[in-house]
């Protein structure tokens, strides 16, 4: 079901956590709320859930105004960062909870309830754990049970607060893929909160970048990566080299091929893989020197130092595939020429 947020504001004392947020999530999307800590993303999620109330604005789910409704009446599924499983209940009872607390008329019979719970546990591939208690499970298992529990009430929207935040890196990677597939299967409108841009890009169909309580950009992962709306988004999503025309020596920027005389903007952001490196034949007039490099698996990251006495001394990072780097046969201290494939310009 679709979610519509109109003009949501929330203050905690003097701190404005959210500032006039407008957001529409179409049915069936898997949306990431992405931003640095303290940007208001969790607060926004909790307001959608009804766990927190906005000072201003409306929350509309599937055309129905839910702003003044209690969390227990909203029909949402919420998954917490630290799982929040009921520690005194078995896995089965955890998942069954949402069905057992339904009003008597809607409550399923024991037989149907048991079938439903086992079906959900099979969906998260953990039916064999149905009689265990939460503290006997691993973090990844707990989070999958928490998800099954949230799905038991057939929520109209699924909200996940940093669902992988408390897990090991390897478990996190598996679960991301798994969540994507699950969403594909169930197609329930979902919003998840994360501060990890990689996670947002990998899992979500739409990414909302938040900062200081407002939306910086909304778009598909490729939109946000290829066409960042502003310097914040560009910096936050992936690695980038920042060249400020006021700090850098203009001559150097010209020789490096970064400066475009027709540019009105002042700051260029260049992704490391948009910098092409060649061995220089220019000797001392070459723009940069190779200082060091690191293996990133398939890619090599090169750390370059500018050959210029004035201006910014920040190193420049470039990335290229492993075999290409081998072909160049570069050594530490070699002079290199740069070519910029693409830059994003900001004011």
């Amino acid at each position: 079901m679709s979610i519509l947020l109109s003009d949501i504001s929330k203050n905690f004392g003097a701190f404005a956590a959210l500032n006039h947020i407008n957001l529409e999530v179409p049915e069936g999307e898997l949306v990431a709320l992405l931003g640095p800590s303290g940007c208001g993303k969790t607060t926004l999620l909790r307001i959608i859930a009804g766990l927190e109330h906005a000072d201003k604005g409306r929350v509309i789910i599937n055309g129905e105004d839910k702003t003044d409704q209690n969390v227990s009446e909203r029909g949402i599924g919420f998954v917490f960062q630290h799982y929040a499983l009921f520690r005194h209940m078995t896995v089965f009872e955890n998942v069954a909870f949402g069905l057992r607390v339904k009003p008597r008329r809607e409550r399923p019979t024991d037989y149907i309830l048991s079938q439903k719970v086992h079906a959900l546990l099979e969906l998260v591939q953990l039916d064999f754990l149905h009689d265990r208690f939460p503290d006997q499970l691993s973090g990844g298992q707990r989070q999958r049970i928490a998800l099954a529990r949230a799905l038991a009430v057939e929520p109209s929207v699924l909200l996940l607060d940093e669902p992988f935040g408390a897990l090991d890196a390897s478990v996190r990677k598996d679960l991301r893929q798994w969540l994507r597939n699950l969403h594909h299967e169930l197609n329930v409108t979902s919003i998840f909160v994360t501060h990890d841009q990689e996670e947002a890009m990998e899992v979500a169909s739409q990414v909302v970048v938040l900062n200081h309580g407002h939306i910086e950009q909304l778009g598909s992962p490729s939109d946000i990566y290829d066409r960042p709306a502003n310097a914040f988004v560009s910096r936050f999503i992936g690695q980038t080299n920042i060249f400020d025309l006021e700090e850098h020596d203009a001559d150097w920027l010209q020789t490096a091929g970064i400066l475009n005389p027709h540019q009105e903007a002042k700051v260029a952001h260049v992704r490391p893989h948009d910098i092409i490196i060649e061995k220089s034949t220019r000797g001392h007039t070459a723009p940069a020197t190779l200082k060091d490099w690191q293996h990133l698996g398939a890619l090599i990251r090169l750390e370059l130092v500018k050959n210029s006495s004035n201006g910014s001394t920040a190193p420049v990072f470039a990335e290229m595939p492993n075999d290409q780097f081998k072909q160049l046969a570069l050594n530490k201290g070699d002079k290199v020429d740069l070519k910029i494939r693409q830059a994003h310009w900001f004011h």
Partner: protein, 287 residues
């Protein structure tokens, strides 16, 4: 509660610590002797003495002392006081712990501090407060006399004083636990469609039940054993306003050794039972 997995076997850790202390063997032994001697002298001997004195004139004298009308009345009154104050303070304790750990409000830290007040005030002062409020010369004294309501030197005064003395026990057990647990499980229950009342009984209570029982147990022990505050408000009317601890004093002052110690033996038994239950509950709640 989440099980904490120790990468190092705790038993081995203890063994290693002991090894480190090995060379100071005489220090270890003298500390153990002091501790055991102290407990023996000041706890075991007096406890044994209570029972020795209670039975000094035989089992029959013991039973006849206990079945004296005044003693029976004292036992009944003590049970009545506990029966009224413990449930009230349980409700108060849960409510206070809930308010302090789940809501943000002005004066919260003041409330947290005030809950500890009965622990820091001398029980005699606590009793005196009620005399000053409800006694014949007190603030409400005239009004109470005019309406023929007796509080001081009557059962209501004893109950009030006991309520005051014992109200921190339950809250003090619950506040740290509920703070540590956080409210996420309750939020999860609400998001699954459970109402507030259902969430409280199905999620909150099972999580806090051992700590709650532990608090109730301590509250009960104190409610039955309180002397100072009750002594001030009771007026020591035989068969009417004497609780068990007061009955011990009255008998003792009259050189009725068997009477005093037979009543004391009931309180001592209560203490022993409390200790045993306390140990069981501590194990359960730390699981």
């Amino acid at each position: 509660m989440n099980a904490i997995t120790h990468p190092i076997n705790p038993d081995r850790l203890v063994a290693r610590q002991q090894e480190a202390l090995q060379d100071a063997g005489w220090v270890r032994w003298s500390l153990i002797v002091i501790a055991v001697g102290f407990i023996g002298l000041f706890i075991c001997v007096p406890l044994a003495l209570v029972f020795i004195q209670a039975f000094s004139k035989g089992v029959e004298a013991y039973w006849s002392a206990l079945s004296q009308a005044d003693t029976v009345a004292a036992i009944k009154l003590t049970l009545l006081v506990a029966l009224v104050t413990v449930p009230l303070n349980t409700v108060f304790g849960v409510a206070a712990a809930w308010a302090i750990t789940r809501f943000e409000f002005k004066g919260k830290s003041l409330l947290t501090t005030l809950i500890d007040l009965p622990f820091s005030v001398s029980p005699v002062i606590s009793g005196l407060i009620f005399v000053l409020l409800f006694g014949a010369e007190g603030w409400f004294g005239e009004w109470l006399i005019a309406h023929d309501i007796k509080i001081i030197f009557a059962v209501p005064g004893i109950i009030l004083a006991t309520l005051f003395i014992t109200f921190p026990f339950v809250a003090r057990q619950l506040i740290p636990l509920m703070q540590e647990m956080g409210s996420q499980e309750e939020e999860a229950a609400l998001s699954l469609g459970a109402g507030g009342w259902k969430t409280f009984w199905a999620v909150t209570i099972p999580n806090i039940k051992w700590a709650l029982l532990y608090g109730v147990l301590l509250c009960n022990a104190r409610a039955m054993g309180e002397f100072g505050a009750v002594s001030v408000v009771s007026g020591h009317i035989r068969g009417l306003t004497n609780t068990l601890p007061l009955n011990v004093e009255v008998n003792y002052n009259e050189y009725n050794v068997v009477g005093a110690f037979s009543s004391a033996s009931i309180l001592a038994l209560l203490a022993i039972v409390t200790l045993i239950l306390k140990t069981i509950l501590e194990k359960k709640s730390s699981r």
